[in-house]
Symmetry: C2
Subunit: 132 residues, 2 copies
DNA sequence: ATTGACCCTCCAGTAACTGGAAGCCTCATA
DNA sequence: TATGAGGCTTCCAGTTACTGGAGGGTCAAT
């Protein structure tokens, strides 16, 4: 199978597939003409990667998950550990963003948004107010 | 004032200040010895930048906000537009992360996390289940 | 004169791709 | 058989916002 077919079937862009080969996530063979030659298994792995990435796992997480995916003797606790760790990081990001949103929403609401220069947003960002 | 003082007063690391100069956010003069020479105003701008960055504004947003900060004839609607746009993007990110969290939390909960290989997380990521 | 704390520039690396240039390969059609 | 449209290849550069480090001047005090 050529890269285009694999891209269509897995949902992962050809460019990204080449990148994944570069960093050693997949190892397709080569045809005589130099084209990458993929198998069904590669399609599966790529789809797996696509899903894992969609859930926000890093490439390094994906590397780990992929090896667990292929390891018949894996222990589910290994997988769970990776997922829990990632979940924690997602929650941290959410918390940080929610805090930003709260501040920002408040400022936006307070700002008249008219033709005058007075602006609570600028004032909040300005350090002069500290000196006063 | 040398970069170290400015870094301490503004809370922005020296390395970052140099970077901000590189990209034209601030323009300190130079002393005879080649050292950057900062003024109080630079400290203010840098503190402003630090706060804006902490609220998640991009560097390009910061560039705009900084020019509005310095513009006595600004219209608050200009500031508000930038902030509202950023707020929208934050909300998008939050939504995306919450969706990931939901999926991930569900999977983590379903996973036994023991010594057996069976794992709902791996199964969810696997494409084979589609074929079944 | 030497030490230690500053300062300088320039290069490389981070995360995960994405776009584009330059150039083969292949197949179908004229 | 020539040609043109895709598809494939590699390699280079750019993205975001810094951060770390090497190699080397500067300054104040001892």
């Amino acid at each position: 199978m050529n890269i285009g077919d694999v891209a269509r079937q897995s949902g992962v862009p050809a460019k990204t597939i080449r990148y994944y080969e570069d960093i050693g996530l997949i190892r397709p063979n080569r045809s005589e003409n130099g084209y990458r030659a993929f198998t069904e298994n590669h399609v599966h792995k790529l789809a797996f990667l696509g899903r894992a990435r969609a859930l926000g796992f890093t490439i390094e997480d994906c590397r780990t998950l992929l090896s667990l995916y292929e390891d018949e003797n894996r222990e589910s606790m290994q997988v769970k550990a990776v997922a829990e760790d990632h979940l924690r990081q997602i929650e941290e990001k959410i918390a940080k963003l929610q805090s930003m949103r709260a501040t920002l929403a408040e400022l936006v609401e307070k700002c008249a948004g008219d033709h005058r220069p007075d602006c609570p947003i600028i004032e909040d960002l300005s350090p002069e107010r500290l000196a006063k």
